[in-house]
């Protein structure tokens, strides 16, 4: 029996904290602005969900934990600690377990960094988003550039590993302006950078604004492609090549937790709207927590916070394996695929995509070329099972 992706992709825990101080106009994540939060209740409910999942996944070795949101840096260190202790009681931890927390780069939250570190967090991912004041305001962020740099410096001293996010392909952004901003970001010596092109998603304030004819000066397809290619070149030259479509690091410093997703490993998801993928008795199950925070909290306290759980079909599993795996520079192992790999049409499509310089194949692996990565949706659509 070959080792299946879930066995070799790592085992992670995702914890969703759904609250923010303000909703950003580009964000379509499950986040809510609430006046007061009962941290104790939330901590206990999250911990209970962790224990519920631990019971059905005995013997697994936890390789990563990720606090996402929302704004998890609004959790108190005590809340983080409660959840981490529950996880520690539940599973054996890998010696080099990676524990990441997403944080806003503000002084208020930086004051808690020490507490997070003491609870066990060893990596933070800062939502810097831009190093330009005007753009920070347009993106609806509550921090300014100096505050972000200060928070970064504190994080650097407090945690083993620090990553930060930038959003580019913004309104009116030129090639030159992005080159300068990106160089400044690289000079800050983070060990990991997430560089996302601005995407206008349905259900966001930006979407409505664009529908109403506003939000001018967004880059067209050609400029977007140029900015992406520039980003690859600049980061590559700085020793921070892309290991995933939007994620850069020096080799060895990849986000282990995110690799679980992209390598189709197993992860437990707890919290409102959190998704998980856990393989039990040979079946890969997909679960999702109730989306509304109040609804989830009540359900979790009553014993189960999930709105749904279902077994993925072979087709769904293959589709996700392709969709996630091709995002990685390392590509994916074809032997991790099920039925789709037995379809001759799949192999014909691969040959065609290779001929068009969109895919490469090496031994048992396939991956997207530089050109293919920019057209990844179209490439995946070619390969996905019907």
């Amino acid at each position: 029996m070959p080792v299946e992706p879930w066995q070799r992709g790592g085992f992670g825990l995702y914890v969703h904290w759904p609250f923010c101080e303000a909703k950003c106009p580009y964000c379509d994540f499950n986040s809510h602005v609430t006046a007061s939060i009962d941290q104790r209740r939330w901590a206990d409910a999250l911990a209970a969900e962790v224990r519920r999942w631990a019971e059905v996944t005995p013997g697994r070795v936890l390789s990563s934990i990720f606090f996402g949101g929302g704004t998890p840096s609004l959790m108190t260190p005590e809340t983080v600690d409660t959840v981490l202790r529950a996880a520690q009681d539940s599973w054996t931890w890998a010696n080099d377990i990676e524990i990441t927390l997403e944080a806003n780069p503000r002084s208020v939250e930086a004051a808690r960094f020490r507490g997070f570190a003491e609870a066990g967090v060893n990596r933070v991912s800062l939502g810097v988003q831009s190093l330009r004041e005007g753009d920070l305001r347009r993106l609806g962020r509550l921090h300014d550039v100096d505050e972000a740099r200060a928070a970064f410096d504190i994080a650097r001293k407090t945690f083993d590993r620090v990553s930060f996010d930038l959003i580019y392909a913004r309104q009116g952004q030129t090639r030159e302006a992005w080159r300068d901003e990106l160089s400044e970001a690289l000079d800050m010596a983070a060990d990991h950078l997430s560089l996302y092109q601005l995407t206008i998603e349905p259900g966001t304030a930006f979407w409505d604004r664009r529908q109403a004819g506003g939000l001018r000066g967004l880059p067209d397809e050609d400029l977007g492609a140029d900015l992406f290619e520039m980003t690859q070149d600049i980061c590559g030259a700085a020793g921070m090549p892309a290991y995933e479509v939007s994620n850069h690091t020096r080799p060895g410093a990849e986000s282990r937790h995110n690799l679980v997703y992209w390598r189709s490993g197993d992860w437990v998801g707890v919290g409102p709207g959190a998704h998980g993928r856990v393989t039990m008795d040979g079946a890969r199950r997909s679960n999702a927590g109730w989306l509304a925070p109040g609804k989830w909290l009540g359900a979790a306290e009553a014993g189960n916070g999930d709105e749904s759980i279902e077994v993925l079909t072979d087709e769904d599993r293959d589709a996700e394996y392709l969709m996630m795996g091709l995002r990685l520079t390392e590509g994916l192992d074809v032997d991790g695929l099920g039925a789709v790999a037995k379809d001759p049409r799949f192999h014909r499509s691969i040959d065609e995509l290779i001929a068009q310089d969109l895919l490469w194949a090496r031994d048992e692996s396939i991956g997207a070329t530089a050109r293919g990565r920019l057209l990844l949706n179209a490439v995946i659509a070619e390969l996905m099972p019907d």
């Binding site: 995110n258 998704h275 999702a288 969709m323 949706n377 490439v379």
Partner: protein, 601 residues
């Protein structure tokens, strides 16, 4: 029990679209109490949805109205509502032969239109007595005196006693009824004891009764139980039922000379009946058929293909059902490399094409791709043989062709002076030769000799757009003439797209090819590779565009929680691709075909 001929008046109504024909018919039916008030609806006589919606009549309809006239006698008035469109010119001419007079309805705010002219001439040819009726005189914009002068000048009939009405308000309707009785002649010469001679005016398919024929009795008497023969098609049938329309079907014992009604004889499909055929008794036939019979011949052809290839069998079923009721369109299966299985269909004209296509789409819920409409070319080969070419895809090797002839039309266009320049330019651009140009009352009448193939695309749309809708247009096919015609192919990524092949005049080929390539460049979405789009005649490329490759189509963020949602988006993207047609490696959305074939917008 037949009505004496002196108390019968048979008539039709000639009018341009929107000039109020159907409304007038409604009022006549209403005022004489033929239909109870609560059963009235608009356009009583137009049965099909499409007829009602587009305000056009496709099938002939008839209604019998009993009218107690001022002279104390009750008259039987038979109205035949005829198709008004040029596509159905032959059917109109048959319907006209079945009656003795016409009401010429003209909108007093608009005046005479091209279509009115064609139909009124048909009525004059049929020796009709014509009563002009000016409609919409209640509107402030109406100008009855000017329109009367126009009727006299353009049509050449006396309009001094035109009846002025408003079909909408009912004003003047009693005067119309009196005018029908007093001014239109009764049927003449019919002999009730002579062998049966009846004209088949039209027929339609009823899903419960089979084919119902509208007939006009000339001589003799038609009764239930009679065995009849169609003199041209040769079929013999037992008459199950005879009756009249009021407008609901109402059975009667017999129909005598001068009367109009229906017969039902368990005929299975409309194809077995031919408009204009003569019906007689099998045992005691009349000696001579009525003159002027001609079978209808399709003049415009196009391919119809289901957008969803799995709809093909449903489409076959739909076409066969429609054919039950329409003998004038032809169809045969066609296979296209690009579009899969479909049908090559022949129509009487563009309206006919649209009507059939709309009915398949609407009544049977099948989305269709329509290929470029084509006319019938006469291809003369070097070996002396001649072929009718219905489909550019069937074009023989050029080296074996001696010459090609195309159908020409005589087009009559009536337009306000202000727009004349644009109309003349349009006709010239379409290879038209001016035959006549006259002015009547602020309006110009241009008569052009045009190739039909220049008209079948979008001539009428263009005409309406350059004249802001003020022009009216009508045409008749005049014959065939040789010209320098070639087949133009379109190649996408070096693959010929058969559905976009077309016959064009050599002098216009470059222009058409360039326009087509430019249009396709906008219509085909960018793909993962660059795509040459070419127009070619034989092996020679005459126009070329390049569609550059798509550069960016990637999701910026995709983590564990996004997997489910992003997968759905990709599935949608894949499904969208499947709805497109594949040409080699290129996906072309079906809207591209329809849009590409419109020449300019």
């Amino acid at each position: 029990m037949s009505t004496p001929q002196s108390r019968i008046r048979n008539f039709s109504i000639v009018a341009h679209i929107d000039h109020g024909k159907s409304t007038l018919a409604d009022r006549l039916i209403q005022l004489t109490g033929t239909v109870a008030e609560r059963d009235m609806k608009e356009q009583m006589l137009d049965a099909m949805d499409i007829e009602r919606e587009r305000g056009i009549t496709i099938k002939a309809n008839t209604v019998r109205i009993d009218y107690p006239a001022k002279d104390g006698h009750t008259y039987v008035l038979n109205l035949i509502d005829t198709p008004g469109h040029v596509d159905f010119a032959y059917e109109v001419s048959r319907s006209m032969r079945a009656v003795e007079g016409s009401l010429l309805v003209v909108d007093a705010t608009q005046g005479v239109e091209a279509q009115t002219l064609a139909n009124v001439y048909t009525a004059i040819e049929a020796d009709h007595e014509i009563v002009p009726v000016l409609n919409k005189i209640d509107l402030p914009a109406s100008d009855p005196e000017r329109v009367k002068t126009q009727i006299e000048d353009v049509i050449g009939i006396d309009a001094s006693e035109a009846v002025e009405i408003s079909a909408k308000t009912g004003l003047g309707i009693p005067d119309v009824l009196e005018a029908i009785v007093k001014r239109l002649p009764p049927p003449h010469g019919g002999d009730p004891d002579a062998p049966l001679k009846a004209m088949l005016v039209d027929s339609k398919y009823d899903q419960y009764l089979g084919v119902i024929c509208i007939v006009r009795i000339v001589d003799g008497t038609l009764k239930k139980g009679d065995r009849i023969r169609m003199m041209k098609t040769g079929g013999t049938y037992d008459v199950d039922d005879v009756g009249i329309y009021r407008p609901a079907m109402t059975g009667v014992d017999s129909l005598g000379p001068g009367e109009i009604g229906y017969l039902n004889a368990s005929i299975k499909q409309v194809r077995d009946t031919r408009v204009g055929d003569t019906i007689t008794h099998e045992r005691k036939p009349c000696d001579k058929a009525l003159p002027g019979f001609k079978p209808s011949i399709p003049v415009v052809f196009c391919g119809l293909f289901p957008v969803d290839t799995s709809d093909f069998e449903d489409m076959r079923d739909a076409i066969e059902k429609l054919a039950l009721n329409d003998a004038s369109f032809s169809f045969e299966m066609e296979t296209s490399a690009a579009l899969g299985f479909g049908f090559r269909c022949g129509f009487l004209g563009l309206l006919h094409l649209e009507v059939i296509r709309d009915r398949i789409e609407r009544e049977y819920n099948i989305e269709l791709i329509t290929t470029a409409p084509s006319v019938v070319y006469h291809v003369h080969m070097r070996d002396g043989s001649q072929h009718d070419l219905h489909n550019p895809a069937d074009m023989p090797d050029m080296s074996k062709i001696s010459h090609i002839e195309e159908p020409r039309i005589k087009a009559t266009i009536l337009v306000p002076d202000d727009y004349l320049g644009d109309v003349l330019k349009l006709c010239q651009d379409r290879r038209g030769l001016q035959m006549d140009l006259t002015y009547v009352g602020g309006r110009a009448m241009a008569v052009y000799d045009l190739p039909l193939n220049e008209v079948v695309f979008d001539f009428y749309d263009r005409l309406k757009s350059v004249t802001k809708g003020y022009a009216s247009f009508d045409y008749e096919i005049t014959g065939y003439r040789e010209d320098n015609l070639v087949k133009m192919q379109v190649l996408v990524n070096d693959e010929p797209v058969d559905a976009l092949s077309m016959m064009v005049h050599r002098d216009r080929a470059e222009m058409r090819g360039r326009a087509m390539c430019a249009k396709l460049k906008d219509l085909i979405p960018r793909q993962m590779f660059k795509i040459p789009i070419q127009a070619a005649i034989g092996g020679k490329v005459i126009a070329r565009e390049t569609l550059s490759a798509m550069r960016k189509d990637v999701t910026a963020k995709c983590y564990g929680g996004d997997a489910t949602r992003k997968k759905k988006l990709l599935e949608k993207q894949k499904a969208g691709k499947k709805k497109m047609r594949q040409f080699g490696k290129v996906d072309i959305p079906q809207e591209a075909f329809i849009s590409a074939l419109k020449m300019d917008s």
